[in-house]
Amino acid sequence: MTAHAIAYCFDEALASLWRQRVSVALSVLTIAAALLVLGGFLLVTVNLDRAVSRWSAAAEFSVYLHDDISSEQRVALNSLLDRHPAVASREYVSKADAAVRFRRDFPDLAAGLADLAQNPLPASIEVRLNPAKADGAALEAFARQLMRTGGVADVRFDRRWLERLASIASGVRWTGWTLGAVLLVASILTVATVVRLALHARRDEVEIMQLMGAPIGLLRGPLVVEGLLQGGAGALVALVALYAGYVVLRGRFFAVLGPAFESAAGFLPFGPSALIVLVGMGVGCAGGYLAARHVR
């Protein structure tokens, strides 16, 4: 196709879009709604992935100790921890330190702790992990080994709930793709209908162009471009709406989810945003082509 032909296709498409701007606006909004759903799910999963990644980097074991742990058992436990490649550092938290932390973190409950004859909080060792070497299955096995070690009352492992969170993120992602795919098919059909209406309005012109010997590409081109522009516009509307929604939610709800989530959260990066625009244009193209197939 020559540059003249491409310019002609865009000129004709823009003129046609303007001529039937009301139905085009509805079509753009339909595409925008579909992409908003898809983008919304994408935004949620991207942020969940970010949070999981951030929390994974800060993941740690908490190894709670029996009050009557012997010094030999402490030495053996420390030795076991120091030999493991995934262990980056360890910190001993005594019963007294645990009480101080409790009073600091839960001041409303601090009085209750003071009323008790004995400090019920156990001593523990907080083990910080090296994320690069923290293989999930190996750590699970290590946690079980620690549980069997003398003097250990319990082992809390952050990774378990992080994996559950990652699994939820995956579920959300697939739900989003499925729902988005259904809505995108509906969008393709909407665009095809609007472009067919445009084709119907221009049928005399198309017939004359055919008689003038215009190649099939020149007859179908404006219709495909019409779809492409509708899809692109729908994607941009979806991105703007998504960003507006993100700003509102960030102000109202992100703080509730904790500072770690708040600091990790952000809008869609360039890649997924560009993907939304490309998907929108692809949907529009497909709709335009469906309508253009009627020109033979």
Partner: protein
């Protein structure tokens, strides 16, 4: 042949020589327009063959068929102009879009419009023109690619007698330059005025070939 055994044209065997001016005449429904549609490859013959310059039109691919149409000029009774395009665009749109050299194409378009007395109307839109002017624009469009063959289906059907005569004189001038012209009409006065070979059709058959 149309469906259910109805023939639009039957046993038609015609040869039109290069550079000829031929009238197709006959009553409404005789098959004049069908014959022109076959020649423009808007329809394909269900039996027999239609050959132009030695090429069987039925054997053209869609791309070749469009290229063939670009080499044939056509003029219709209802002008078939694009109302949203200016006279200039109606005449030169397809060659320009297909990448004909811009200056060369503009010169050719202007020459044709000037020859047809439309140079002062080239920025007007079809609905701003009189019927005679619209038909001259359609003729300009047919001529702009310098076709070897021009097909005209009742080109004066919507025009008054004076304008009809003017248009027919234009076709005679075009033919004088070497272009083969086929005009379908049932206006016998105009045929007499031009005085060329006439083929009379009736019920899809050639009944007279003078």
């Amino acid at each position: 042949m149309y469906g259910r055994g109805i023939y639009a044209l039957r046993d038609v065997s015609l040869v039109v020589e290069k550079g000829e001016f031929v009238f197709l005449t006959g009553p409404s429904g005789a098959g004049k327009s069908t014959l022109l549609r076959l020649l423009l490859r808007q329809e394909l013959a269900t039996e027999g063959s239609v050959r132009v310059a030695g090429r069987d039109l039925a054997k053209l691919t869609p791309g070749q068929a469009q290229a063939y149409r670009r080499a044939v000029g056509f003029v219709f009774q209802d002008f078939k102009l694009i109302p949203t395009k200016s006279v200039l665009d109606n005449v030169g749109l397809v060659p320009r879009v297909l990448g004909a050299t811009s200056v060369q194409q503009q010169r050719r378009t202007f020459q044709v419009l000037k020859w047809l007395g439309l140079q002062h109307r080239m920025n007007a839109y079809p609905l701003e023109l009189s019927g005679g002017e619209q038909q001259r624009v359609a003729i300009a469009r047919a001529l702009v690619n310098e076709p070897a063959l021009i097909l005209a289906d009742e080109p004066t059907g919507n025009l008054d007698p004076d304008l009809s005569l003017e248009i027919m004189n234009l076709f005679r001038d075009i033919n004088a330059r070497g272009t083969t012209v086929l005009v379908a009409t049932h206006n016998r006065d105009l045929m007499r005025h031009v005085g060329r070979r006439a083929i009379t059709l009736d019920h899809g058959h050639v009944v007279e070939a003078s």
